[in-house]
């Protein structure tokens, strides 16, 4: 097997291994980053929703307490405030969703869907679980959901949700007396669920991966071609000529050519040495003939 084939075979092997390892590592890293970005978005939105809840409880509701004696204002309800705030956001980002999924809600729009009920029950069954993260398919594509429990931690919650008799009359007028009662202190009654689409970050990660791997392949091809050109011009061609002259000289053909070089590299030194060896051989033969 010729030297260049051996060299290229090894080079291709190294390139293939490097390509595979780099591809695997970068794919995993990009996918992991994309998922982390999605999760980060979900957490940010969850915090925004929680902030909206707290703002409503601490600042908005006290201002509307007097009005609540005449009309029930759902704007004072933290779940309503957080959902409405998120609905505004959804006008520009319709694939993002937020829901205060509740097993027994006052407002029917907060009632749990099947899969949401499973999430709520995880929180109800394991009190130590503070966050559930998962993925699911939606009509808009794959989505990641982040959920946290809604727990009755304040007695003020029970002002509206203990019994219909104890609830504000204005609230009963608006929502009726059938739902949203019987809550108990410290009970997990639902879950905040933020759903974030995965398509865009994943597609972005895939695109980045393709670009990276394409660039890497281009670099490998360029290196491969360059190394071959260099190997041929700097080594193979000179060694082949040197080998041809040496082969003829060894067969007694002293007119096969001269070992000439201007290079001072290792092949140049070898060529000069071969030239001196040929001259010594010719001199020795003349001495024998004489």
């Amino acid at each position: 097997m010729k030297l260049i084939w051996k060299f290229n075979l090894v080079l291709l092997g190294i390139f293939a291994l490097g390509f595979a390892v780099a591809g695997y590592m970068s794919y995993r890293s990009l996918q992991s980053n994309a998922r982390e970005e999605i999760l980060q978005n979900a957490r940010l939105m969850m915090e925004a929703a929680s902030s909206s809840r707290n703002y409503t409880i601490t600042q908005v509701k006290p201002l509307l307490d007097t009005q609540m004696k005449y009309h029930f204002l759902p704007q004072t309800v933290p779940a309503y405030a957080a959902t409405e705030q998120f609905n505004e956001l959804r006008k520009k980002h319709p694939d993002y969703t937020y829901k205060e999924a509740t097993l027994n809600p006052t407002n029917p729009r907060n009632r749990v869907a099947d899969w949401e009920g499973d999430v709520v029950n995880i929180f109800r069954n394991t009190s130590t679980t503070s966050e559930v993260i998962g993925e699911r398919d939606t009509p808009a594509g794959r989505a990641l959901y982040l959920s946290r429990p809604i727990q009755v931690k304040s007695k003020s919650c029970l002002d509206c949700h203990s019994t219909a008799e104890a609830a504000p009359k204005t609230m009963i007028e608006l929502y009726g007396s059938a739902n949203g009662f019987g809550w108990k202190m410290d009970e997990v009654i639902g879950a905040q669920i933020v759903s974030v689409p995965m398509n865009v970050p994943i597609e972005r990660a895939n695109k980045t991966f393709a670009t990276f791997m394409g660039s890497l392949a281009a670099v490998f091809v360029a290196i491969f071609v360059l190394l071959n050109v260099m190997l041929y011009t700097m080594v193979i061609r000179r060694v082949t000529r040197l080998a041809g002259i040496a082969n003829n000289v060894s067969l007694g053909n002293m007119d096969a050519g001269e070992f000439k070089t201007h290079s001072k590299d290792e092949i140049g030194v070898l060529t000069e040495s071969m030239g001196r060896m040929k001259a010594s051989l010719l001199q020795a033969m003349k001495m024998l003939e004489g």
């Binding site: 201002l63 307490d65 007097t66 009005q67 004696k69 005449y70 009359k169 204005t170 007028e173």
Partner: protein, 273 residues
């Protein structure tokens, strides 16, 4: 004659006007005064707010009353410091924030005493409705007699006079009442007295006319108002307006027609000019 020359006696300041919106004025003695924010109110003052006008008084004892017109509030002298300040409300919307010793709201068909709480009252003569926002009030149905038996009205309860004149109390304010409320009644009344240190000088608008005085002269405190407005008898226009119905006002009848009351053997005194 002494009554005719008597100026309103210096009364104790019991509160300060902290909000004035639109058209409002104050009746002290028999004179109408402009009522800028910062005006000190005294016992026996009458505050009046025109249509959409608003005037709020913060009492020294801590209670607040906010009147929205068209309506009037007559601040009646409390019999004792520990007794609630009485406010007679012949008409208008009134929101009160009561602090001990509280407020006694007098209307034609009923009275309400609230010591600690918030209450909204809407009066239009004999038609009265009210809602207790917080605390509790005592309702005295004035129809049988002014000091009739009291009943408790709790926070969240609404009362109104029915067609028969009886007062009906139910849970929760009806939507019509809530919709008709002056918008700012849906919020807590602001407390501003501490920011109004200046005491503006009162500027007289004019004297009260007989037409303006007549409703008060026909009310529960007619004797008080006869005495209070007697100085106006010096005004020929007022006097001529009184003349056709002078028999309704015995005190004034004596002043205007002393010859009717003179002993038959004594010379008749000259009538008031």
């Amino acid at each position: 004659m002494a009554l005719l020359s008597a100026a309103p006696s210096a009364a104790t300041e019991i509160g300060v006007v902290t909000v004035v919106e639109g058209s409002a004025r104050l009746l002290r003695g028999a004179s109408w005064f402009k009522v800028p924010a910062g005006t000190r109110v005294e016992e026996a003052d009458i505050l009046e707010a025109a249509e959409r006008g608003q005037v709020q008084v913060e009492f020294a004892a801590g209670s607040i009353a906010d009147l929205v017109g068209s309506g009037q509030v007559y601040i009646i002298a409390a019999p004792a410091k520990t007794a609630p300040t009485a406010l007679q409300v012949p008409g208008g919307w009134l929101k009160v924030v009561a602090a001990p010793p509280g407020l006694r709201l007098r209307t034609l068909p009923l009275e309400l005493v609230i010591v600690d709480g918030v209450l909204v009252l809407h009066a239009n003569g004999a038609a009265v409705e009210f809602f207790v926002e917080s605390g509790a009030a005592k309702l005295i149905d004035a129809a049988p007699r002014p000091d009739g038996p009291a009943r408790d009205v709790k926070a969240g309860q609404y009362g109104s006079t029915s067609a028969s004149g009886a007062v009906v109390v139910v849970a929760g304010a009806p939507i019509a009442f809530a919709d008709a409320l002056p918008k700012h009644f849906l919020d807590a009344l602001p407390v501003l007295a501490a920011t109004l240190k200046a005491k503006p000088a009162l500027v007289v608008e004019r004297e009260i006319t007989f037409a303006e005085a007549e409703p008060w002269l026909a009310g529960r405190d007619r004797a008080v108002f006869e005495r209070r407005f007697s100085s106006r008898l010096r005004d020929p226009a007022f006097r001529s307006a009184v003349a056709p119905n002078v028999a309704r006002y015995p005190m004034w009848d004596r002043l205007l027609n002393p010859q009717k009351y003179a002993p038959s053997d004594a010379p008749a005194a000259a009538p008031v000019k």
